[in-house]
Point group: C2
Chain length 126, copies 2
Amino acid sequence: MAWVRIGELARATGTTARALRHYEQAGLICSQRAPNGYRIYDERAVARVRNIRYLLAAGLTLDDVRVFLPCLDGDVAAGPPSDKGLRVALERLAVLNERIAYQTEARDRLEAALRQATGGRIRPVA
Amino acid sequence: MAWVRIGELARATGTTARALRHYEQAGLICSQRAPNGYRIYDERAVARVRNIRYLLAAGLTLDDVRVFLPCLDGDVAAGPPSDKGLRVALERLAVLNERIAYQTEARDRLEAALRQATGGRIRPVA
DNA sequence: CTTGACCTTGCCGCTGGCGGCAGGGTTGCA
DNA sequence: TGCAACCCTGCCGCCAGCGGCAAGGTCAAG
């Protein structure tokens, strides 16, 4: 079993030691400790952290990701996506859609205001 | 000239006294003071605050809005949308578009992951 | 022995737009 | 007279995901 320390894990996953400690504090990853107190990780941690980052990049929050913990190691038992995970993902998908819709609306308003502005002065409201 | 106090202005614009003080501190609105120290506003403030809220709702920041100050009262001199205002608005529009694109991408990823998940276990990264 | 790279915990800062509270003063009205 | 509604300033909190720093411990190379 090859163990890596936090810096190496950070480099391997394209993140920072600070972020990894943050994930640990959030309960997303766990670490063994070397006799000197250093955090050490086995190589499955790499995939795990990549999965976490993937989910974060997909718009989930750390809180959301927590629900996916059982599947985060991806290849072992894990079982099907855990139902609860699916539900959370769907909810989050809805939130994302809502947020996108809202911002798109806002963008359209700004665009409209700009269009008006090119033919007079800005009249957002009146 | 009818003067209103902050509470009334808040009600008239659908916001809060706290927010109005915040706008003032950000340099977006200004107020006269009554002899007792209370803020008082003339009725143009209503349109001004509505304009501010409109721009905020359109995705601008308080900082952005500051550039539009000369046009915020909308009917007097003001002149054309001030070039600088246009540029800022365009930049902000770009930022909004970028943000929307990013989130849409994220949403699509999440959707894709979910689709995969329904036919196996979640394999975000591998 | 010393340097320097790495690690530890812990805490504050940041962005944005306020909310909320403390601890006061000022009105209007019964 | 007293209350309730309004106003003031000033400061901390919040959300999220860390960044950055302080103040220290550890270890290998030179």
